[in-house]
Assembly symmetry: C2
């Protein structure tokens, strides 16, 4: 089998994340055919792969940080939008976040059952306007503090300028993709 | 309610992705209490939120690109590792990719049922060594071409230097997080 090099797939020679990311090196084991480090092929130079790995590491940190309050990233996003836009209609919130409406209804049911948000009939009587409850508003103070802790930790290894650069680069790739493929949904998954 | 500004949560003033990412502006609708653009609060400056949104947009593009061959990102990663390390043990592949072993077995069952990969008893007889089948090896040529197409498209809006910068920044945040939280798993989800 022809061993492919990174270059012949047009990828850029970026230093491998394998060692830095703590990926376990394969143990030298007399019982298997391949000893020594596993060749990750071109994956460490694949933006899609690295992005997913980063997202999952960040999600894990979010989960650990928000464990005591039992709030998911999607729930935090929805609560933040309602806090900043009290009275917004359900569809406006789900559209702004790109969450499918069916998923959004169940997410909102949970927030309502926990006494954090509430639906009130909108002026047109055909839909609901969303508000935080007093305990929802109170909880937001803790959630914003936890999110700052989370954000600080995930960017701890890069400086403020690099963090800004990372945000700008991500925004630059999101724009054209969401325009051509339709908006993705941070609430589609289990989070 | 005190309207929080971005700065008092310690976030950096990075240009909003809301407009650029094609997030639908809320329609001025006489039936609701809030007209005009939805305030996304600090979400566009939250690395966690932007990362997830980027990952989902990229996943959508992967799915569209690999639709005809019906291959998921996790399947492509596993096939790539086996291609580059024929004879590797199951646990070595799952460890290298950070895929939970239970999920990995089912993923491998699918690849075997499709005739793309095969298990052979390892030298120690206690485990399996993994190989691509001839049709698996043949398919990899198409998959690498599709992945190049995918990678080219997701980075189309940024130049090669910025792409390298983005990979390096993502690698820099992944390393410490995976070390402290344990490795995340790009195969844990449905992908």
């Amino acid at each position: 089998m022809l061993k492919r090099t990174q270059d012949d797939k047009g990828h850029l020679p970026v230093r491998s994340i394998a060692r830095r990311s703590g990926a376990p090196k394969s143990k030298a084991d007399s019982g298997n055919g391949v000893a020594g480090p596993v060749d990750l092929s071109t994956l460490p130079q694949s933006l899609g792969y690295v992005l997913r790995r980063a997202q999952l590491a960040v999600f894990k940190n979010f989960k650990a940080t928000f464990d005591d309050v039992d709030i998911t990233p999607a729930q935090y996003s929805v609560l933040s939008i309602i806090e900043s836009n009290p009275g917004l209609k359900q569809t406006q919130v789900s559209d702004a976040l790109g969450i499918k409406r069916a998923n959004f209804v169940s997410l909102l049911d949970t927030l309502e059952a926990r006494g954090l948000a509430e639906r009130a009939p909108a002026a047109d009587r055909r839909s609901y306007a969303l508000f935080l409850t007093p305990s929802g508003r109170k909880l937001m103070k803790s959630l914003h503090a936890l999110n700052l802790e989370h954000e600080t930790r995930i960017a701890a290894s890069i400086g403020p300028e690099q963090r800004a650069e990372l945000l700008a680069l991500l925004a630059a790739i999101i724009g054209p993709l969401e325009t051509s493929l339709g908006q993705s949904s941070p609430g589609d998954d289990e989070v």
